[in-house]
Amino acid sequence: MAEKIIELKNIKKTYDNGFTAVTDFNLYVNKGEFITFLGPSGCGKTTTLRMIAGFELPTEGEILLNGKDIANLPPYERPINTVFQRYALFPHMNIYENIAFGLRQKKLPEETIRRKVKRVLELVDLEGFERRSVATLSGGQQQRIAIARAVVNEPQILLLDEPLGALDLKMRKEMQLELKSMHDRLGITFIYVTHDQEEALTMSDTIVVMSEGRIQQIGRPEDIYNEPKNAFVADFIGDSNIFNGIMIGKLKARFAGGEWSCVDDIPEGTHITAVVRPEDVLLTNPEDGTIQGTVTSVIFKGIHYEITVEIGKSEMVIQSVHSAKVGEKVGMRVNSDNIHIMVAEDNTNYFTVDINSKFRLEFNGNVLDTSVTKILKGSKRLEDGTLVDANGDAIDPARTKIIASIQPQDMDMTDHIEDGLVDGYIKNLIYKGDHYSYVVHTEHGQDFVVDDEDLWNMDDHVGLIMPVEKMEFKVRR
C-alpha cells in the first residue's frame, strides 16, 4: 500500500474578479509518484500547482501534506520546491549562488553548501558551471540549473510548471527522458503540469486530465488513452474520431450513419458519445464496410497514411499503412472492442455550423439569424472586411469551427419540412412519462434528440425547428 504524501480535498479557487479557476478538486498523490496535470490552457492546472506551492491560497478546501493542512502556509514554510515555466533564475547571481540560494536561507555551513551544489551540478550534468552567469547559458542548460536549484533543497515534492515549454522539440524529447530518469534516481514526488498530451503519456505514472477547472479523469496513461471517461478526454488525449449517437438495441449503437455492435452494455435509447481511434479503423471495399464514405484527403505521415473519409456530414480520420485515392469510395469496419462508448453527459444536441463568406453563420445551407461577432467574445469586423478576435488577430473562417448546441426540449418537429432548419426521419421513440423522446436521423447521418409531447410515428419525415436564441455556441480552432 503506497503512502499518501499530499492530498487535496474539495479545493476551490475563485479570484477577486469572480472567476472560478478550480472547483471540486479532490486528489491524493502517493509518495514517489510522477503525477501530471494535463489540460488546455485555462483549465486550472497551473492554479492548482500554485496552490500547492503556496503562491495562491485556495478559497475553499484543504491541502494535506503528510496529513497536516498547509493550505494557508506561505511558500517559504513548505517543503516543496518549484521549477518555473521560464526558469526564473536570478540574473544577478552566478550559477553557484542561484543553486545555493535555498541552502543559504537554511543557514547551512558554507562547506555543506559547496558539497551539495557540486553534487547537484553533477546530477544535471553541468559540472564546473559554478562561476558562469545565467545569461551565458542556453535554454536547456538554464532548465537544468532551474531543476538543480529546486532539487538541491531535497524537497518532499517537486513541482514543475510546463518546464519544457520553452525548449525546441529535440531538446524537449531529451529532457523528457532525463526528467524521468532523474525522478527514478531521486525518489522525490513529481507534480508536473503540461498541456502536451504526448509529454504526459511519456513521463507520468498518473495523469490528471483537467478542463474548465474540474478533474475530468484520473488514471494511468494507458487507461486514460484506452478508456477515456468522456468526450473531452478522448478528444484531448491522442487523435480520435468522436461521434454523437444513440443506443438502438442490446450492444448495438448507431453513429456516423451506421449501426455498430459494441461491447458496452448501455440501455436502448440512451444518447451516447462514441470514440474510435484512427488506428483502429479498417478500410474495406464499400460493400464489406459497416459504413461507406468518400476519401477526401490522404497525407503521408512516415509510418502511416492519414486518410480522411467523408461520411455524409461527418468525417472519419483513419491511420493506415495502405494508401487510398482521393475520391475513392471506401467501406470502414471497426472491431467491436475498439469502439469506445460513453453515455453522453446529457441529451444536448451538438452540431457544427459554418461561417460563410459574409461572416454569417450557416447550418445545412440556412443562414442563422445571429452574427459571428456576438458569438466570438470581443471580436469585431474591421473596415476592410476581415474579422479579428479580442487580441486583434485575424480569424480565418475556414479554420474556425463553431460548435452549436441545443437542448431536446427547445426543439420542435413540424410536418412542413421547409419550416425546419434541417429535416430527417424518426428512427427511435421512447415514452418518458410526460413526453416522448425522439431520435431524428438526418440524411447527412446526424442524429438529433427531440422531446415532444405529441406522438409521432416511426419513419415520419419531419422538419426540425431550432430557435437560434436557444442555441449555444462554442468556438474550436
Binding site: P75, Y76, R86, L89
Partner: protein, 262 residues
C-alpha cells in the same frame, strides 16, 4: 544620386564639433590659462587651496547627498507601489507624478516658496532645509521614473522563486527585488545627484544666499573671471565623469530607463 550614410552624418558631425567639442576645448583652454592667455595651473591649485571654494564644494555635496537620499527614500516605495499596483496599466497614477514637470520650473518653485513662507514665517530660518525641499520637489520625478521602469520590468516569478526557496518577504526583497532595481537606482541617483550640485536657481529663489557649485561658476563669470569659472566647470565635469564610471555609468541604460516617459 542617393545620399550615402556618411553624407547623412555630416550635419551631426558639424553639430558635435560646434556645440560639444569646440566649447569643451574652449573650456579647457580657459581653465589652463590666465587672463593674459598664458598657460597656468594656478586656477586648478587655487580651487583646492581656497577655503571658500572648498567650502562651496562641500556644501554642494551635502545638498546633493541629502536631496538624493530623500528622493530615493520617497521615490522607491512610490515607484514600487505604482509598478505593482493593479492600476499601473492605465498610467494615470504615474502621470500624477510626472505632471508637475510640465509646469514651468520657476512657477513651481515660486509656489513652493509661498507655501514654505506660510509655514515657517521666514525662509531665512531654515535655508538648508528649504533648499533640500525645493530640490526634492524639483527632482523627484527624475528618481521615480527610472525606478518605476525597472520595477515594472521585474519578473514576479523571480520573487516567487525566492520565496519558494525559503526566503521570507523581507529576505526576498533585500536579496532579489532591491539588487535587481539597482539599474533604476543608479539612473535615478545620476539624474538627481549631479543636477542638485549645480542648480543654484532653487537656492536663489528660496533666498538661500549660500553658494553651491552652480552659483560659484556664475559668480566667477559675472566678475569676468572666465579662467577661474572654466576651471570649476572642468572640475565639476571631472567629478561627473568619475561618478559615472564608479556607478558603472551605462548611458544607454539611463536613456532607456528615464527617457521612456520623459
Amino acid at each position: 544620386m542617393r545620399l550615402s550614410r556618411k553624407a547623412l552624418g555630416i550635419p551631426y558631425a558639424i553639430f558635435l564639433v560646434l556645440f560639444v567639442a569646440a566649447p569643451l576645448l574652449v573650456l579647457v583652454y580657459f581653465a589652463f590659462t590666465n587672463g593674459k592667455g598664458q598657460f597656468t595651473v594656478a586656477n586648478f591649485t587655487g580651487f583646492f587651496t581656497d577655503p571658500n571654494t572648498l567650502g562651496t564644494l562641500f556644501y554642494s555635496l551635502c545638498i546633493a547627498l541629502v536631496t538624493t537620499a530623500v528622493c530615493l527614500l520617497i521615490a522607491y516605495p512610490t515607484a514600487y507601489f505604482l509598478a505593482k499596483s493593479r492600476f499601473h496599466r492605465n498610467g494615470v497614477l504615474i502621470m500624477i507624478f510626472v505632471l508637475p514637470m510640465w509646469i514651468n520650473f520657476t512657477l513651481r518653485i515660486t509656489a513652493l516658496k509661498e507655501i514654505l513662507t506660510l509655514i515657517e514665517g521666514n525662509l531665512a530660518y531654515f535655508p538648508f532645509l528649504n533648499s533640500v525641499i525645493g530640490m526634492v520637489y524639483d527632482f523627484l520625478p527624475f528618481m521615480i521614473l527610472p525606478l518605476y521602469n525597472t520595477i515594472l520590468r521585474l519578473d514576479d516569478s523571480l520573487i516567487e522563486a525566492a520565496k519558494d526557496l525559503g526566503a521570507n518577504d523581507r529576505s526576498a526583497f533585500f536579496k532579489i527585488t532591491l539588487p535587481l532595481s539597482m539599474p533604476g537606482i543608479i539612473s535615478g541617483v545620476a539624474m538627481v545627484f549631479l543636477p542638485s550640485m549645480t542648480n543654484y536657481v532653487v537656492l536663489d529663489m528660496l533666498y538661500n544666499s549660500t553658494y553651491i557649485m552652480g552659483s560659484l561658476i556664475g559668480s566667477y563669470f559675472s566678475a569676468y573671471n572666465w579662467n577661474g569659472g572654466s576651471m570649476i566647470a572642468l572640475i565639476l565635469l571631472a567629478i561627473i565623469c568619475i561618478f559615472t564610471i564608479l556607478t558603472g555609468g551605462d548611458e544607454e541604460e539611463n536613456r532607456r530607463m528615464g527617457g521612456s516617459l520623459l
